[in-house]
C-alpha cells in the first residue's frame, strides 16, 4: 500500500501533442481513484505514466516515498490489469498468474501457494490448468486480476478492464473488483470512460477532458456540484440540463419568467439535474413534453422549455404524457456556469 503523488506531471508526445497538461494530485493509501473522461482525454496516458509504460515529460511521480520517474515498470511495485486482459495465450492460467513471481526468482512452492490463494479468492481453482482461450471473458478478466493480486503490489492500475465484457457481466465484475479492492486495501487507480463505473466504484473521481483535469472529488461531489459544464454533461445519465439564460438585475430569467436570483447580469449557463425538476400541478413553470422514454423504474421526459431542450427524470409512479406540463424546480438544485469558460460560478 502506498500513497501516490503526482507533481505537475506532464506528457508531450514527440509530435508535439500535449496529451496530459501538468497535473497534480495525491492518492491516499488504500484509496480507489477513478480517472474518467471521453476517449482521447489523456486518462490512459496518465495511467501509463504511473505504470512506467509511458515516459514522463515533466514533473515528479512519487509512489510511496520514492520518486519513480525513471524506475522500470517491474520495479515500481505495481500491478496492472489491461483492457484486453493481455494474458499470455500459450501459458496455462497457473503460469499466467505466476509468471511475474517466477521472474522475481521466487521459490516454486511459494509461487504455487500464492497462485492457489489468488485462485481461491477469484474462484479460479477449477481452471488453473486451462489455457486462456478456453476461458470466458469474465474468467479471463479474473485471471488478469489474479496476475495482479499475486504480486502483492502497493498499487493496482486498471486500464478500462471491463469494457470488453457484456453489460451483465460488467456489472457483476464491477462489484467483484470493488469488493476485492476493499478487502485487500490496495491503493488503486482505475481508468474508464464509463461514468457509471466511475460513480459506483470510486472513492474519488478525477474527471479529465482534453488533457486537463476538470474536477477531483467524491462521486457525490462530482455529481451534485460539478465544477464545469463538461463535468455536468459528462457525469450522470441523462446528463445535467444546461440552459443559456439571461440575468437582469440579479434575476435569472427563462422565457421572460424569473427562475431564481443570482448576482450579476449578462448571460449565464444554468444547470439543473433532470431529477431536480418535478412535475407539480402548482409549479410555476410550464414546459412542453415532446417525447417520453420508458425505462421501467423511471421515465425520461424530453421537453422544450422556452425554446430550449430539457430532460426531466420522473419515477414510474408519475403519470406522464406529451403536451404541456407544469413543473417546479428545487431551488437549491440550480448551478450556474460561465458561458465562455464553462467554469462554475
Amino acid at each position: 500500500m502506498a500513497q501516490v503523488t503526482l507533481n505537475a506531471l506532464r506528457k508531450v508526445y514527440p509530435n508535439g501533442f500535449e496529451a496530459v497538461k501538468p497535473a497534480s494530485f495525491t492518492i491516499e493509501e488504500g484509496e480507489f481513484v477513478v480517472l474518467v473522461g471521453p476517449s482521447g482525454c489523456g486518462k490512459s496516458t496518465m495511467l501509463r505514466m504511473i505504470a512506467g509504460l509511458e515516459e514522463i515529460t515533466e514533473g515528479d511521480l512519487h509512489i510511496g516515498d520514492r520518486v519513480v520517474n525513471t524506475v522500470d515498470p517491474a520495479d515500481r511495485d505495481i500491478a496492472m490489469v489491461f483492457q484486453n486482459y493481455a494474458l499470455y495465450p500459450h501459458m496455462t492460467v497457473r503460469k499466467n498468474i505466476g509468471y511475474g513471481l517466477k521472474n522475481r526468482k521466487i521459490a516454486k512452492d511459494v509461487i504455487n501457494q500464492k497462485v492457489e490463494e489468488a485462485a481461491n479468492l477469484l474462484n479460479l481453482n477449477d481452471y488453473l490448468d486451462r489455457k486462456p482461450s478456453q476461458l470466458s471473458g469474465g474468467q479471463r478478466q479474473r485471471v488478469a486480476m489474479g496476475r495482479a493480486i499475486v504480486r502483492d503490489p502497493s498499487l493496482f492500475l486498471f486500464d478500462e478492464p471491463l469494457s470488453n465484457l457484456d453489460a451483465k457481466l460488467r456489472n457483476q465484475m464491477r462489484i467483484e473488483i470493488k469488493a476485492l479492492q476493499r478487502r485487500l486495501g490496495v491503493t488503486s487507480v482505475y481508468v474508464t470512460h464509463d461514468q457509471v463505473e466511475a460513480m459506483t466504484m470510486a472513492d474519488r473521481i478525477i474527471v479529465m477532458n482534453g488533457g486537463e483535469i476538470e474536477q477531483i472529488g467524491t462521486p457525490s461531489e462530482v455529481y451534485h456540484s460539478p465544477a464545469s459544464t463538461f463535468v455536468a454533461s459528462f457525469m450522470g445519465a441523462p446528463p445535467m440540463n444546461l440552459l443559456d439564460v439571461s440575468r437582469e438585475n440579479g434575476a435569472v430569467m427563462v422565457g421572460g419568467q424569473q427562475v431564481a436570483e443570482f448576482t450579476g447580469s449578462g448571460s449565464v449557463t444554468l444547470g439543473v439535474r433532470p431529477e431536480d425538476i418535478l412535475p407539480d400541478a402548482n409549479g410555476s413553470f410550464e414546459i412542453n413534453v415532446t417525447l417520453i422514454e420508458e425505462l421501467g423504474a423511471h421515465r425520461i421526459l424530453h421537453a422544450v422549455w422556452a425554446g430550449q431542450p430539457i430532460m426531466i427524470s420522473v419515477t414510474k409512479d408519475v403519470a406522464a404524457e406529451t403536451g404541456p406540463l407544469r413543473v417546479a424546480i428545487k431551488p437549491d438544485a440550480l448551478k450556474y456556469f460561465d458561458p465562455q469558460t464553462g467554469r462554475r460560478l
Binding site: 505504470a51 509504460l53 517491474a74 489491461f82 484486453n84 493481455a86 511475474g100 521472474n103 482461450s133 496476475r147
Partner: protein
C-alpha cells in the same frame, strides 16, 4: 443433384489427373529401381515390377561411388540432412532475432535496416555467387558444413514473415510482460518464441526444403566427395559410371527416391501447422 454429381466427377478427374502427373515419374523411378540395370537398359521403363529393390537399396546406401569411395548414399543423406536442418534452423533463428530487433527496439534506422534486408531478396545466390565463393574460400571454409550453411543463412523472407507476425502481437502483451518483470531476452524466449511456433513451423518447412534442394552452392563449395549432398551427388553417380560399364540405374533411382522423401515427410508432418502459421494467428 445430377448436375452437382457431374461437376464432382469433373473436379475429381482433374485432381486425379494432376496427382497422376506428379506421381507417375516417382512410380517409374520405383519400377526401374526394382529391376536389374541390364533389364532397364534393354527395355527402358516398364510396367512390371522386379525384385531388385532390396539389393539396389543396399547398393545405394552403402556402396561408395566416385573416386575416393567416400560418398555412399548414407553419407550423402547425412550431409543433406545437416544442410537442410542447418539451413532451416539457422534462418529461423537469425530471421527471428533480426525481426525482433526491428520491431521491438527503438532503433534509429530500424525501418531502413529492414528495407535493406528486404532488398536482398533481389540479390539471390546466383547473382553474388563469385564474391560469396571468394569469401568462403578465403575463410578456409571450402568443404565444410559451415561453408555450406553460413553464407546462405541470412534470410530476408524469414525476417519479413517474422516481422509481420511480431507486429500483430498485441502491444498490451509486451506491456504486461514488462510489468511482470520480463526483460528483452526473457520476453523473447518466454513469450514471443512460444507464440510464434506455428510461424516457426511454417518457416521450417519452407527453409528445409529450400536448403535440401540447394544444388548450385554445394556444387561450388564441395569438392571433397565425403561432403556431397544427395542432390549434388546423384548426378555424379550417373555421370561417372557412364562409359563402358552399365550405368547403375537401380542405384541412382533409389537415391533419387531417397532424395525426394525427407521434404515430403516434413511437409506431411508439418502440414497443419504450415497452413495455420501462414493464415491464422492464435492470440
Amino acid at each position: 443433384m445430377k448436375r452437382i454429381k457431374f461437376e464432382t466427377i469433373v473436379d475429381h478427374s482433374i485432381l486425379i489427373l494432376g496427382s497422376l502427373i506428379m506421381i507417375l515419374p516417382v512410380v517409374m523411378l520405383l519400377q526401374m529401381a526394382s529391376t536389374t540395370d541390364l533389364e532397364t537398359m534393354r527395355n527402358g521403363p516398364g510396367l512390371v515390377f522386379g525384385d531388385q529393390i532390396p539389393i539396389n537399396f543396399e547398393k545405394a546406401m552403402f556402396e561408395a561411388s566416385g573416386f575416393s569411395g567416400e560418398n555412399t548414399g548414407l553419407s550423402m543423406l547425412y550431409n543433406s540432412l545437416i544442410l537442410g536442418f542447418g539451413f532451416a534452423i539457422g534462418k529461423i533463428v537469425i530471421g527471428m532475432m533480426a525481426a525482433y530487433a526491428i520491431v521491438y527496439f527503438r532503433l534509429k534506422f530500424a525501418t531502413m535496416a529492414f528495407w535493406i534486408i528486404f532488398t536482398t531478396l533481389l540479390l539471390p545466390l546466383e547473382v553474388r555467387i563469385l564474391p560469396s565463393y571468394e569469401i568462403v574460400q578465403k575463410l578456409g571454409m571450402l568443404n565444410t558444413y559451415q561453408g555450406l550453411i553460413i553464407p546462405l543463412i541470412a534470410s530476408a523472407t524469414a525476417t519479413f514473415f517474422f516481422r509481420q507476425f511480431f507486429r500483430s502481437v498485441p502491444e498490451e502483451l509486451i506491456e504486461a510482460a514488462r510489468i511482470d518483470g520480463a526483460g528483452p531476452i526473457k520476453f523473447f524466449i518466454d513469450i514471443l518464441v512460444p507464440l510464434s511456433r506455428t510461424m516457426i513451423a511454417a518457416m521450417f518447412i519452407i527453409m528445409f526444403v529450400y536448403g535440401w534442394n540447394q544444388y548450385l552452392w554445394p556444387t561450388m563449395i564441395t569438392t571433397d566427395e565425403g561432403m556431397f549432398t544427395l542432390v549434388r551427388g546423384i548426378k555424379q553417380i550417373t555421370q561417372t559410371l557412364e562409359g563402358t560399364n552399365l550405368p547403375e540405374y537401380g542405384k541412382s533411382n533409389i537415391l533419387q527416391i531417397i532424395a525426394i522423401l525427407p521434404p515430403v515427410l516434413i511437409v506431411i508432418f508439418f502440414q497443419s501447422w504450415f497452413v495455420k502459421g501462414l493464415t491464422e494467428s492464435d492470440k
